[in-house]
Symmetry: C3
Subunit: 228 residues, 3 copies
């Protein structure tokens, strides 16, 4: 029943890339003043969000990036970013829909990444890791290139957790013998639901804590213990 | 007439790497005070500018980085960076020459990247993309590692556009049957000329705009619409 | 006597990864206030420090990342990061021990990287470069993702120098016919000693200087000469 030859259909892959491109453009349109982006910058952000996760996935897998083997991915990401830029006023009114789409997109990237890793014979833990990197990699690249704090690193985000749990469910279900397509659909659903619940109910992880109580440093200090 | 076995001659590749290394050192010498760099930092910037584009190109192509297959590239980039550091006073008086050389260097990196991608059988759009990444990749890595805003992301730069147009001309000419060496020379010339014109006449892309007029937010705000 | 089939034993590799994970967690526990990290962020930092150097090494070598071919690396890095987080109060009292361990870890990563490159047939200069990148790569990734100035880029650090010298000793000894295991042990020792001496005696590289004296710009300015 399990089909190890699971291939991500091109239309599904391009849909995720296109949604990512629109996301990127809407993100980029939020910058004003000195930080404003020209259309090239908008397209770059669109490409990073739409294709960055897949690039990271393939680099970690040690295979040539599939998104650069055809013209379609770049054309889709670029077109989607330009459409997103031109229609950003309309899209901004659809904020709820965009957040929903975004939740589906990270689910898709995570599921594609995890299943590709499993199909290539990687063990379950790295497969989950690579899926999670594929899901959030685009947003990390975006934040780094924009000089923003990397969103997933700070308290208040269940973004990466949603991706990782969905990937783990996919990998676990596959290990238990579920067909990979079914496992992928369940994994995507899990990621999407966790992400949406986190947004709706404003859930986040607790802050890190050490086992022994200590006097809490009140001010914002960022002094590392071991200075390299 | 078309020679798909086009190989970048080592001397040309090393020339571009060396020019990049000098560029990097001159850039690094501009930092003073708390941001100042030690000689190791200067060498690192020189290596990033001289070899970073080629590394990114080969990672995107899924081939082992050619710049690490021989001793020459690192030795060239390092020597060039040290010479650039020691002679930075002289080079700074040659600012116009440096800007001119830089324009040629991004042309070279772009042409090498695009033609290598085409020779490896990639379609035209990813080939142009990889060439552009090879041309500007070094400066992106430099800005990220220095903690600076990534230059190509903000209004006021025709750097990446010059690279992309030159790569597109190369790829287009090749597709139309031009010998790849001729196409490469034309592509390098196009990139160089656009870049120099942009510097001389201070040309830049228009700011992104949405189709419908909106009240312009005056202050610098950087609030993304969809917070991940 | 030289054994080109030198393989890094899994226990040694995992030890380095685990030490890196603890290091990462201790680093992360130093952040308070708005910069504070949730447990996921601590784990991500632990993974970056423990596995980032090996990932960069394998990307530069053009081989699939070995740390993602088994479950052990991610499990070790994650567990070590969580233990480091929970016991950070205890570890902080052992600051001297931690700095010592860190010096050994960069020696290990550097030696593993250089010897893997040599075994794969790379020339000596790129092998030293890749070893150095493997040693400091994790801390670069950590600084970039945390939005901190990249530590190795600024005056006051012999971190990267210690790694590079150790790697050069390893590569030089191998070139002179020493068995690679012996060369690796010497290289690790050299890196560790240089790093510890630099910490104890607060040694750093001199600031970059140009050959001709110039009026020193007093204020912190970061104006690059050639604006891209």
């Amino acid at each position: 029943m399990t089909e190890p030859q699971f291939v991500i259909p091109l239309w599904a892959d391009l849909t995720a890339v296109g949604l990512g491109g629109v996301q990127g453009a809407l993100f980029a349109s939020g910058f004003r003043g000195r930080q404003r982006l020209d259309p090239l910058g908008v397209v770059i952000i669109g490409i990073l969000i739409g294709m960055g996760g897949g690039l990271i996935r393939d680099l970690l897998l040690g295979v040539p990036p599939v998104t650069l083997q055809s013209n379609w991915y770049l054309m889709t990401a670029t077109s989607a970013a330009l459409v997103g830029m031109l229609l950003s006023n309309i899209f901004q009114r659809l904020n709820a829909a965009i957040i929903g789409l975004d939740a589906v997109v990270i689910g898709l990237f995570g599921a594609f990444g995890t299943s590709k890793a499993l199909v290539l014979g990687l063990p379950i833990v790295p497969a989950i890791f690579i899926g999670s990197c594929a899901a959030v990699g685009g947003s990390i690249l975006r934040d780094v290139i924009m000089g923003l704090p990397v969103a997933i690193m700070h308290v208040g985000s269940l973004y990466a957790v949603a991706a990782a749990v969905g990937c783990a469910v996919l990998a676990g279900a596959t290990a238990l013998g579920a067909p990979i397509v079914v496992a992928a659909i369940v994994g995507i659903a899990v990621t999407t639901v966790i992400r949406l619940l986190a947004v709706v109910f404003d859930i986040s992880l607790p802050e890190q804590r050490a086992l022994h109580r200590r006097k809490v440093a009140v001010e914002t200090s960022s002094i590392p213990i071991v200075k390299p």
